[in-house]
């Protein structure tokens, strides 16, 4: 059976870290182990924690997004990502459903910042006002801010599931939610 992808076609793949996640999903992607070596020739990695690019590029084929949208910078970033990406994948429970970062929502941004930076501080406690992005009132799943094409739940999703999704995308197909993967 012939593969659905021309092996000379390089997929531009972006894997940004959100600021509200553990990176467990990225680590789960790396848990594909030596299969990464096999698919490496098919991929151009154009943005993410494993590459030293500072700006999110235009014309990205697939972006795999980890993490909830928690700060103003996250919000700006996800809108930029959506505008510059053909297929957006929400990877992991933080991106899909809010998950652990959203546990702060019932307390509100001020209460969590006060606890961390003032009540627990012994020296010169202050809530960061410069450089560090302001928290949004609530930490939210990606699809509440922008349309998402593929959802991959799990905390983290298993490596086999991630590899199945990746293989489908490299073959030019959107994974079907009703199919069994991994």
């Amino acid at each position: 059976m012939s593969r659905g992808v021309d092996c000379r076609v390089i997929t531009d793949l972006a894997q940004p870290w959100g600021k509200s996640e553990s990176s467990g999903c990225h680590m789960s992607l790396l848990d594909t182990d030596e299969r990464i070596i096999d698919i490496a020739p098919l991929i151009h990695l154009v943005y993410g924690p494993l590459v030293d690019f500072k700006d999110f590029p235009e014309g990205v084929d697939v972006t795999i997004m980890e993490g909830a949208v928690s700060s103003e910078e996250d919000l700006h970033k996800i809108q930029q990502v959506r505008a510059r990406t053909r297929v957006l994948v929400s990877l992991g429970d933080c991106a899909v459903a809010g998950n652990v970062p959203a546990m702060r929502n019932k307390f509100g941004a001020q209460a969590v910042l006060k606890r961390a930076y003032l009540e627990n501080a012994t020296l010169d406690g202050q809530i960061p006002r410069e450089i560090i992005a302001r928290l949004l009132p609530a930490s939210r799943p990606v699809h509440e801010l922008v349309p998402v094409d593929v959802f991959v739940p799990g905390c983290p999703p298993g490596a086999d599931l991630i590899f199945s999704v990746l293989s489908e995308l490299l073959a030019g197909r959107i994974p079907s939610p009703s199919a069994k993967f991994g």
Binding site: K19, S22, C25, E34, I37, F53, K54, R104, V112, N120
Partner: protein, 259 residues
Amino acid sequence: MAQQKIVIDPVTRIEGHSKISIHLDDQGLVEAAYFHVTQFRGFEKFCEGRPFYEMPSLMARICGICPVSHLIASAKACDQVLAVRIPPNAARLRRVLNLAQIVQSHALSFFYLSLPDLLLGKDAHPEHRNLLGVVANHPDMARDGVRLRQFGQSAIEMLSGKRIHPAWVVPGGVSSPLAAEHRDCILAKIPEMLTIAGRALDWFKSEMEKFREEIRSFANFPTLFMGLVGENGGLEHYDGQMRFLDAGGRVMADYPDAS
């Protein structure tokens, strides 16, 4: 020359999130430098009101690269809340899990994060200066790194049932024993892993000639040192005390105090 600010954003190939800002005065000299940790989620607050035995698995989510560290630290705190001494085998199993994590995290740091710069050159284009560039140009080294990290991760999986964010470490010990076949599987892989680590270290040492200038100047100033030590002052990873050394290697203090 006007004052300038140099911003490195994001800092990539680290286990975490950060920005760096360097302030230059009007002579162009560094007058201040800051390392900004740019991620904040609020664990300190949102754990309030939750059952204490949830904490180990919740704290694992602080980091997907070192969830085991947070899992174990939290479980140890829970042990103290319960005022229990855990079974000796549970302590040994937690130690093995911790060591497995050290293997995978160090493999990640060396092969996936640092090696692209060391191997392909700091001035290589970011398009190639990454893990996939190592795969393309030095596939044997890439495979070594993948296999070493895989060994740590699969040991974690064999012990705890899951590679990332396992639930196995609990207040009072661990929730299941290590099966004999898993133990044998882990032991059987160690010779190959030692060979890989040895090969990486030999290569690293031989490469240092190229980095004489960096070694001489980068972060090369007197500092204190801190680490976990056991009873005889040897390296500890699970228990022990924090020991502080001065720049000459003399012990300044232990915490908590041994007396």
